[in-house]
């Protein structure tokens, strides 16, 4: 049986104790007679030929992450290299053997090896000959090793990181975190290209814009196809014919046109995925086309699925379906073939929904003891008749044109835009928030989802009285962050109470805003949405980053190529061939070989596009 090589004993005295205390693993023999090991149910290395497996991995590293490593070593440059997950040690030992075969000086490597499980390394020392490893090797094991390594990495200049997928799969999240920390990876280094079509009209229009903005602030590249530009076309159909069958045909053609426009843009712009909101003009045909082209589509259905049922025709064609309702909705979606359902509550836009200073004139115009912003649904019309004796302003459209509420309707019951809503929320002592119901006279006893208005009022630092909803307690604390009413009967008493207690109102509003900023902004929702899509769409994760920092690391900061990429570091966005070519064309002085090679690459790309070899 082998033992720990002397040079490791001398350089890693503390490691010896860790290894001594680590449990023994049952060693196995692979089909070609090499030692291997089982970790639980799983073989850590190939059970056929672990050395050949490690050689293939080493070749892969040298063709990707370590592409410039041999060149840098042969030029006598020092290169820091980190191995993540080495199991018994095959990957690192075979990699070193391969470099040796190429006649490269391994002492130029700054070699750091991290293994999460000490028992694996312990078994490795007993089974493989680690004495052939370069003596500059430094080992890090377990949680303690992780902290040491990360601290050390702060002083490393652009290390190359080689992960062994078969081994890191034993603790994927752990290794992923280590890797991200080493590389200080942020979204901006691996941004996605996300197409967000804006619906033609309706409540989802601002939501789509909030999503787009949030994705951008997360560092992703976002492109929109603005459906509102075609609102006039939809409206003009009404003036063309009064016959419904004709209107339906024309509207269908407009929807199909916009759907194809979205597909065309997604393909042309090479979107990583398309995020649609309710009412986005995407047809089953268009969604199938996106799927054929390998562009995942996601729907965030910020509507009441009981009320708006058109999701049934479209949901099976989306790759991911997010909704503000869960429970039965998930089951219903499963029945029609949508397996990737995910609950994603509504949110607020931190850029728009925030406390606002009002002028005296605005306070006069928008201010009141009690206000409501929204459309005149049946339950609201019935309920608000009982609040006529309050200083009550009702904002929004679709309210009855006669009846007792007419004096309370503001400015001819016109539509209120999101910016104005923020002023109303801020100007009102109590913002009434009664979720809509076309069937109940008051509070919907089966109401589950929480409407966007709840988050928006809270984000504005305004006080609200909201009807009880099934999912509300998991989003806000009803005792300290938000005030609830269970029925319209108890509403006047609650209004009177809160009008009499301004400090309590202010405290609750402040806490509600803090909660929104902590958990309920569009940034939070979009981060979750992207993570869900990334987890189930492996091709998104496999993209190679062309972020300048990543390119410098790959090429090596000390090489001509690395220094060329370094010129783009300040731009902090994915580098493209066109951007490089533009930079070269505008540059002064003589063309360098690096520049010439990039011009060749660009010409080759342009040639391939012209010949139709690539899109």
């Amino acid at each position: 049986m082998r033992t720990i090589p002397e040079f490791i004993r001398q350089t890693h005295p503390r490691l010896l104790t860790v290894l001594e205390n680590a449990p023994e693993l049952q060693r196995e023999v692979s089909r070609n007679g090499e030692p291997t090991v089982r970790f639980g149910e799983r073989f850590v290395h190939s059970q056929v030929d672990p050395r050949a497996e490690a050689r293939r991995l080493a070749e892969h590293w040298l063709a990707t992450e370590g592409l410039y490593l041999p060149r840098r070593l042969s030029e006598g440059r020092r290169v820091p290299v980190i191995f993540l997950g080495v199991g018994l040690g095959y990957p690192v030992l075979e990699f070193c053997a391969m470099l040796r075969q190429r006649g490269l000086d391994l002492e130029l490597l700054e070699l750091y090896v991290f293994e999460s499980f000490p028992e694996l390394l312990k078994a490795g020392f007993k089974t493989l000959d680690w004495s052939v490893a370069p003596h500059c090797l430094r080992l890090f094991v377990g949680n303690e090793g992780k902290s040491e390594l990360l601290q050390l990495c702060q002083n490393l200049n652009a290390p190359l990181v080689f992960s062994s997928p078969g081994i890191t799969a034993l603790a994927p999240a752990f290794y992923d975190e280590v890797r991200r920390n080493i590389l200080q990876e942020s979204v901006s280094q691996r941004p996605l290209r996300i197409l967000v079509p804006i619906p033609i009209y309706g409540g989802s229009v601002p939501t789509a814009r909030y999503c787009a903005r949030a994705l951008q602030s997360l560092g992703h590249r976002v492109e929109t196809v603005d459906g509102t530009l075609y609102h006039f076309a939809l409206e003009s159909i009404k003036s063309i014919t009064r016959k419904k069958p004709h209107r339906n045909i024309l509207q269908g053609m407009l929807t199909a046109f916009l759907a194809e426009t979205i597909v065309a843009r997604a393909l042309d712009w090479k979107a990583d995925f398309v995020l649609a909101l309710a009412q986005t003009p995407l047809t089953p045909q268009a969604l199938q086309e996106l799927r054929r082209e390998g562009i995942p589509s996601a729907m965030w259905f910020v509507e009441d699925y009981h009320l708006f049922t058109y999701w049934k025709e479209l949901a099976p064609f989306y790759d991911h379906f997010f909704a503000i309702q869960k429970d039965d909705f998930g089951r219903e979606l499963l029945q029609i073939g949508q397996r990737n359902f995910h609950y994603l509550p509504a949110a607020a836009c931190r850029h728009l929904h925030r406390p606002t200073e009002l002028t005296g004139e605005e306070q006069l115009r928008y201010g009141s003891d009690l206000s409501f912003v929204g459309a005149g649904y049946y339950n609201r019309v019935q309920s608000f008749r009982r609040l006529l004796n309050y200083d009550f302003k009702i904002w929004g459209n679709d309210w009855p044109e006669d009846g007792p509420l007419v004096p309370k309707n503001q400015e001819k019951a016109r539509r209120v835009d999101p910016e104005e809503s923020v002023k109303i929320f801020s100007a009102s002592k109590i913002n009434l928030n009664l979720h809509s119901s076309p069937t109940h006279a008051g509070v919907d006893p089966f109401g589950d989802f929480v409407n966007p208005r709840t988050f928006e009022i809270a984000a504005c630092g305004a006080f609200q009285l909201v009807d009880e909803r099934k999912y509300l307690p998991e989003l806000f604390d009803p005792s300290s962050e938000i005030a609830l009413f269970q029925s319209v009967d108890e509403l006047p008493a609650k209004i009177d109470y809160f009008l009499a207690h301004p400090q309590e109102r202010a405290d609750m509003a402040r806490r509600a805003r803090e909660r929104v900023l902590r958990e309920h902004t569009y940034e939070h929702r979009m981060k979750e949405l992207v993570e869900v899509i990334e987890a189930s769409s492996p091709q998104l994760g496999k993209r190679q980053s062309n972020h300048p920092a990543e390119l410098v690391r790959r090429a090596g900061p000390d090489t001509d190529l690395g220094q060329f990429f370094g010129q783009f570091l300040e731009e902090d966005e994915e580098l493209t061939l066109d951007r490089i070519a533009e930079h070269i064309r505008k540059g002064k002085g003589e063309l360098t070989d690096v520049e010439g090679t990039f011009l060749l690459m660009k010409e080759f790309r342009d040639w391939a596009v012209e010949k139709g070899v690539i899109d």
Partner: protein, 567 residues
């Protein structure tokens, strides 16, 4: 031993047509090592060019899947291209020729840093740089080919350091190709007891393609008249044409090898054929290289003068319509040219190639049709000779004019030390051999005089400015004010040239050529710009003088030549 690199990233036909150029390079330095760099899919063809010592392929397959995907980073793509450039640099070329005329090949050419580079490359600032006047001519032809009298082979030839002793297309069939072909033809059932006529029915685009129905009728007539064995050629994508023909004719004399040939076996198959009937394709050039007689059909944008097979005795059909040849990429709703060429005429031409002429065939009875026979002169010029002896026409005269004008202006070894008078005398003699001779001055008009007068005026202005530029650039401290003024003065010539270009179509070529040169002038330092302008407008001055003297020759020599011809 010098190492010579040639890059040619074009199509199969173009590759075969650069053979005489390669022969010229080879004959100039017989001991040299000649390396041809081609796209991956043409490696097989390039390896069969006998004058080439080594073929290097640009690894398309390796790069294309990654060019537009983000599965591979720019750093990795870079490494791949850099490796390719390094591989080429290690060849340590002494001379490098870029025949591809593309920005792609220019970038590659620049990266090799060969001191003696000919063709398109970059200058030290990354701007496109043309290092041979005939490459500029090539770019002019892409602008307007109407008055271009040269075949592609002839455009390549002046770039070579020497004209080969016997310029011909060449393609070397290997013994493996022969063996494979024997098996292929035997499996298809082809025998040796009757002539084998090959059909190449496909083409690069629909407009160039003679209808399959016409090929069906042609096959029927050839089987009937000669018991011909019709061998159907083409790529796998062209199988549908063969299937249509086989279905329509249902004859045991049809043999289909469509999609079954490689470059090598196609060459060997053509060697077995007595005649090839083809649209404008690479196959017809391969047949010419194999010295197989062809009957070529040039439709749509195809023009026999531009891309006809370079060799002797090929018969080429072209429609004589106002729209023919049409511009590249023209969408034609109804290709009238497709109906002009009749299967019976093509059958008669095939019979002529088989040595069994149909004496009843009256070719001069076809006013909408032009049938010409190819002939390569000793100096490598490809002539298209009408089958019937026709009176000399203005268009033919002007083609001959430009056939002399461009080599004298741009430089061509074959015209070295020749005066315009001598050059024109040679040209008019070759015209007299094949046309019913008439006085060229009768074919010229007052407009021609006006156009050349226009050039003279512009050239007079340009000459003054060019002289000042020359003087200033030679001085130690050139006056920037003077340079700028002269550059502006020359720029004013452009408007006058544009007027000639628009007004006198037959005389537009020189103005268009100057426009191409002007487009290549980099926008850099005042002295660099002045030097470039001096060269461009210097060419205009020389071109204008040449136009004048050649026109004078055209008017004054016919009487003498007529006497000489008759004598």
């Amino acid at each position: 031993m010098s190492r010579i690199g040639v890059v040619n990233f074009t199509r199969m036909g173009d590759l075969i047509q650069c053979g005489p150029f390669l022969d010229g390079v080879r004959e100039n330095s017989p001991e040299s090592h000649l390396i041809l760099i081609v796209l991956e899919n043409f490696v097989d063809a390039a390896r069969r060019l006998p004058m080439v010592d080594e073929v290097i392929s640009f690894p398309l397959d390796r790069f294309i899947p990654h060019l537009d995907s983000r599965r591979i980073s720019l750093a990795e793509l870079y490494a791949g291209l850099e490796d390719f450039a390094t591989l080429l640099r290690r060849r340590r070329f002494d001379y490098f020729y870029n025949l591809a005329h593309t920005r792609l090949s220019a970038a590659l050419t620049w990266l090799l840093h060969v001191p003696a580079t000919y063709g398109l490359t970059y200058d030290s600032s990354g701007h496109l740089l043309v290092t041979h006047p005939w490459i500029n001519y090539y770019f002019y032809v892409t602008l307007n080919r109407t008055w271009n009298p040269f075949n592609l082979v002839e455009m390549y030839l002046p770039i070579a350091p020497a004209v080969p002793s016997r310029p011909r297309l060449k393609f070397c069939v290997l013994s493996d190709d022969e063996r494979e072909t024997a098996g292929l033809l035997s499996a298809a059932g082809v025998q040796n007891n009757s002539p084998i006529i090959a059909f190449q029915m496909g083409a690069a685009d629909e407009q160039r393609r003679w209808p399959v129905a016409a090929f069906v009728e042609l096959a029927r007539q050839l089987i009937c008249a000669h018991n011909a064995q019709i061998l159907l050629l083409g790529t796998a994508e062209e199988t549908s044409y063969s299937q249509t023909l086989i279905h329509a004719l249902n004859s045991k004399n049809l043999f289909d090898v469509t999609g079954k040939t490689s470059m090598g076996t196609l060459g060997a198959v053509l060697k077995h054929c007595q005649v090839l009937v083809s649209n404008d394709t690479g196959t017809i050039h391969l047949a010419a290289a194999m010295e197989t007689p062809t009957v070529g059909i040039y439709l749509g944008p195809a023009a026999a003068k531009d891309t006809g097979p370079y060799g002797d005795g090929h018969l080429l059909f072209e429609p004589q319509l106002p729209c023919a040849p049409c511009s590249y990429h023209t969408a034609c709703a109804h290709c009238a040219c497709h109906e002009v060429i009749q299967p019976s005429d093509v059958a008669a031409a095939v019979a002529l190639q088989l040595g069994k002429p149909n004496h009843a065939w009256q070719v001069w009875d076809r006013p909408r049709l032009r049938i010409r026979r190819t002939q390569v002169t000793e100096t490598g010029q490809l002539r298209l000779i009408p089958l019937a002896r026709l009176p000399l026409d203005r268009q033919t005269l002007l083609f001959s004019f430009y056939r002399v004008f461009w080599p004298l202006l741009l430089g061509d070894e074959r015209f070295a030390l020749m005066s315009p008078k001598d050059a024109w005398a040679c040209e008019i003699r070759s015209l007299a051999d094949v046309y019913e001779f008439c006085d060229p001055s009768a074919l010229l008009t007052d407009e021609d005089k006006e156009a050349i007068g226009g050039y003279q005026k512009i050239a007079a202005h340009a000459e003054v400015a060019v002289e000042v530029l020359n003087r200033e650039l030679r001085s130690k401290r050139p006056s920037l004010v003077e340079l700028r003024e002269m550059i502006l003065k020359l720029a004013r010539c452009d408007a006058a040239l544009a007027h000639i270009e628009e007004r006198f179509l037959a005389w537009a070529p020189l103005a268009q050529f100057i426009r191409v040169l002007r487009g290549n002038v980099p926008d850099e330092s005042p002295t660099g710009l002045a030097a470039a302008c001096r060269d461009v407008y210097g060419t205009l001055v020389r071109g204008s003088q040449l136009l004048t003297s050649l026109r004078n020759e055209m008017i004054s020599t016919p009487a003498r030549e007529r006497e000489a011809v008759h004598a």
